[in-house]
């Protein structure tokens, strides 16, 4: 046994002696109360305080509970006709407990009074207790209260009326301070983070119990022997006070219980977890639903989540937005970061992180691969976007350059042809040249449209698809459940899906008609092209369909070509609208 434990054992023995001695005095003096309840009331605080001293060394709640337990028995020891003791019994024994209890509640669970308001409320309660104690020492004469046998030393200014005024004033001031006390508890709750609120739950139970005790106290006389009702109230108060140390000890040790959850975590991690599940496991173990697990990439200061998406470490924050970052390291290199509620016990967080060590390393590798995949996907998307930009530029250049010049040339030729002075042979030649030129202009226009359709930029997808249908050699029915604009990459990808599919229908399907359906659902554009032809299209063989599949998958969409049992071909693409 350690020295500290010996010390605690000695303290426990002394406390037990103090409690049993006090109770023995009460029994010996024939004090009419339930001695078992009275003994348990004080002992519960003493035992609870010693347990907290042992399990939570450095937390002021332990010594405070012991102080409360010791003061509890001053009243009992006061029944001995030994100088000073009776007076201390009446003063300390009866009035010193309240501020201690308030300090325990307001400093729960850390043992520290954190805000100025907490310190002010506690300070005022102590000041009130000191004032009433001084008043008792100055004016209280037990003989004036009917205790003729009490051979106590007389107060310097014995006055029953002064004593009653002092106690009444204290009770009124106490009622005001009680309001401040409840306000302080409520402020704790309002400013608490989710994990802190979980820790504060026992405090609420305790505060309810304290409220009941003091409500009972309001009905009780300062002299429990005054009558049966006052006596009943007195005993009920004792009964509820036994509950308080139990609640505080249970609350403070629940973090200790959480440590056993680390054991459960180790058992859970014995089986391989699905990717991304580790964060949930740690969140459950540490009972912090807001917990986030990020993994360090090889590059400095780059963090990703389990899905490989880049994230940054949060700033510390304030109030219930506050976050704490606990780094998990290997050989001095950061491996992962746990972002959690600052109220969590740092030792517990490190224990959980250590238990999850191998799993964290595995998941980090997985996250790294995911991050690389994510980068490949993003670069594919950028390549497609760059290609589309280039297509638009070429189409625009054709429109602004060659097409304009050829159109102007066509006007010149037409003017020359129609000029009065032109001889018929030249006019014929010019007419032929003009026809050729118009043919070239039409072909160039078709080429430009194939590179990038201006109507898509001008009018959007449904109109562009209608224009495709108009130029198709077979009847095409269009159904679109929207007429709004979509993001440009989505419109472009969808347009080329329909364009290629309809071109294939015209070339290979021997179909009599086709149907295009465009629909939006949950952020996805669904493009379906169906024909009644011979079927047999295979994306693996045709470079056009293969290219479409690549384009759609670069946008994280899906692309499929099916030949339904009844014949025909169905091309289906689902393209995210937020791409």
């Amino acid at each position: 046994m350690t020295r500290r434990r010996w010390w605690l054992l000695t303290l426990a023995v002394v406390c037990a002696g103090w409690a049993l001695g006090g109770e023995w005095v009460s029994i010996h003096r024939g004090v009419p109360e339930n001695h078992l309840l009275d003994l348990l009331g004080g002992l519960a605080f003493l035992a609870g305080g010693i347990i907290i001293l042992d399990r939570r060394p450095g937390n002021a709640i332990g010594p405070l509970m012991i102080a409360y337990g010791i003061i509890w028995y001053f009243g009992n020891w006061g029944n001995l006709n030994v100088p000073v003791l009776p007076l201390l019994g009446t003063s300390l024994g009866q009035w010193a407990g309240t501020p201690i209890l308030a300090q325990i509640a307001l400093s729960y669970p850390t043992g520290r009074l954190r805000t100025r308001f907490d310190r002010a409320v506690t300070g005022l309660l102590y000041a009130g207790a000191i004032a009433i104690n001084v008043a008792i020492l100055l004016v209280f004469d037990p003989r004036s209260s009917g205790c003729r046998a009490c051979a106590w030393e007389p107060a310097p200014f014995p006055s029953r009326s002064a004593f009653l005024v002092a106690t009444s004033a204290y009770q009124h001031a106490g009622a005001v301070l009680a309001v401040f006390f409840f306000a302080a508890v409520w402020l704790h709750w309002r400013n608490a983070t989710p994990a802190e609120r979980r820790d504060l739950a026992p405090l609420w139970v305790a505060v309810c119990v304290i409220a009941i005790i003091y409500l009972l106290g309001a009905f009780a006389s300062p002299f429990p022997l005054a009558g049966p009702f006052a006596y009943l109230m007195w005993e009920l108060q004792t009964l509820f006070q036994i509950a308080l140390p139990v609640i505080f000890v249970w609350g403070l040790l629940s973090a200790r219980l959480a440590r056993s959850a680390v054991g459960d975590l180790m058992v859970e991690l014995d089986q391989p977890l699905p990717p991304g599940e580790l964060q949930s496991s740690l969140s459950r173990t540490l009972r912090d639903p807001s917990l986030e697990l990020l993994y360090a990439l090889d590059e400095r200061d780059r963090w990703v989540n389990a899905r490989g998406q880049h994230r940054s470490l949060p700033p510390p924050g304030q109030g219930n937005q506050a976050r704490t970052v606990t780094l998990v390291e290997r050989d001095g290199q950061p491996l992962a970061a746990l972002i959690h509620d600052p109220a969590l016990d740092p030792g517990l967080v490190r224990a959980a992180a250590a238990a999850a060590g191998i799993a964290i390393e595995n998941e980090r590798l997985h996250a790294e691969v995911q991050a690389q995949l994510e980068e490949v996907r993003a670069s594919r998307q950028r390549i497609v976007a760059a290609g589309d930009r280039e297509r638009r530029r070429v189409e625009r250049n054709l429109h602004d350059g060659a097409q304009q010049r050829l159109a102007t040339l066509a006007l010149s030729l037409a003017m020359l042809r129609d000029h009065d002075g032109t001889d018929p042979a030249t006019a014929d030649a010019l007419a032929q040249a003009l026809a050729e030129l118009r043919q070239a202009i039409d072909e160039l226009r078709e080429l430009a449209r194939g590179i990038h359709p201006a109507i898509l930029t001008e009018e959007g997808l449904p109109a562009a698809v209608e224009s495709l249908a108009d130029r198709s050699p077979l009847p095409v029915r269009i159904a679109a459940d929207f007429d709004t604009r979509l993001p440009e990459p989505t419109e472009t990808a969808a347009y080329f899906v329909v364009s290629e599919a309809l071109a294939n229908v015209a070339k290979y399907a021997h179909a009599s008609r086709a149907q295009v359906e465009l629909s939006r659902c949950n952020g996805t554009l669904r493009v379906e092209v169906v024909d009644d032809g011979v079927g047999g299209a295979d994306p693996a063989r045709g470079s056009g369909l293969r290219g479409l599949a690549d384009r759609v998958s670069a946008m994280r969409g899906s692309f499929a070509v099916e030949t339904p049992p009844g014949g025909g071909t169905r091309v289906l693409a689902e393209i995210p609208c937020d791409a």
Binding site: Q404, L406, A407, A410, L411, M415, R445, P453, E459
Partner: protein
């Protein structure tokens, strides 16, 4: 009295050819503009009977010019022109309120008459 025409197009070569072609056919070309903003201004100042308006202009689109010119009292008839096909603009040409559309390569007095009908619009 000849029909008074304003040509709005950013391509000077095309404007010169169009001016010559329309003048030869008996139209009076009262002005030219190289972009949308000045097209709107000149249309307001000169009050032409017809505006020959390119859809693709360097500043604002021809459709926007149509909207602004039509907001003036007694606006001229507007005929849109482009080196693209009418189909490339979908239903916008029909919806914008222009009198019609002529592909640039097909511009001629007869094409203009076909769009405007016989006689000057005002």
């Amino acid at each position: 009295m000849p029909c008074r025409v304003l040509i709005v197009d950013d391509h000077p070569g095309f404007r010169a050819q169009a001016r010559a072609l329309l003048a030869a056919a008996g139209y009076e070309v009262v002005g030219e503009a190289a972009d949308g903003e000045s097209g709107v201004r000149v249309a307001r100042d000169l009050s032409p009977d017809v505006v020959l308006l390119d859809v693709q202009l360097p500043d604002i689109s021809g459709f926007e010019v149509v909207r602004q010119v039509h907001s003036e009292p007694s606006p001229p008839a507007i005929v849109l022109i482009s080196s693209r096909d009418a189909a490339d603009y979908g239903g916008r040409i029909r919806r914008c309120g222009a009198r019609g559309f002529i592909s640039k390569a097909d511009l001629s007095a007869s094409a203009l008459t076909a769009v405007l009908g016989t006689g000057c619009p005002r």
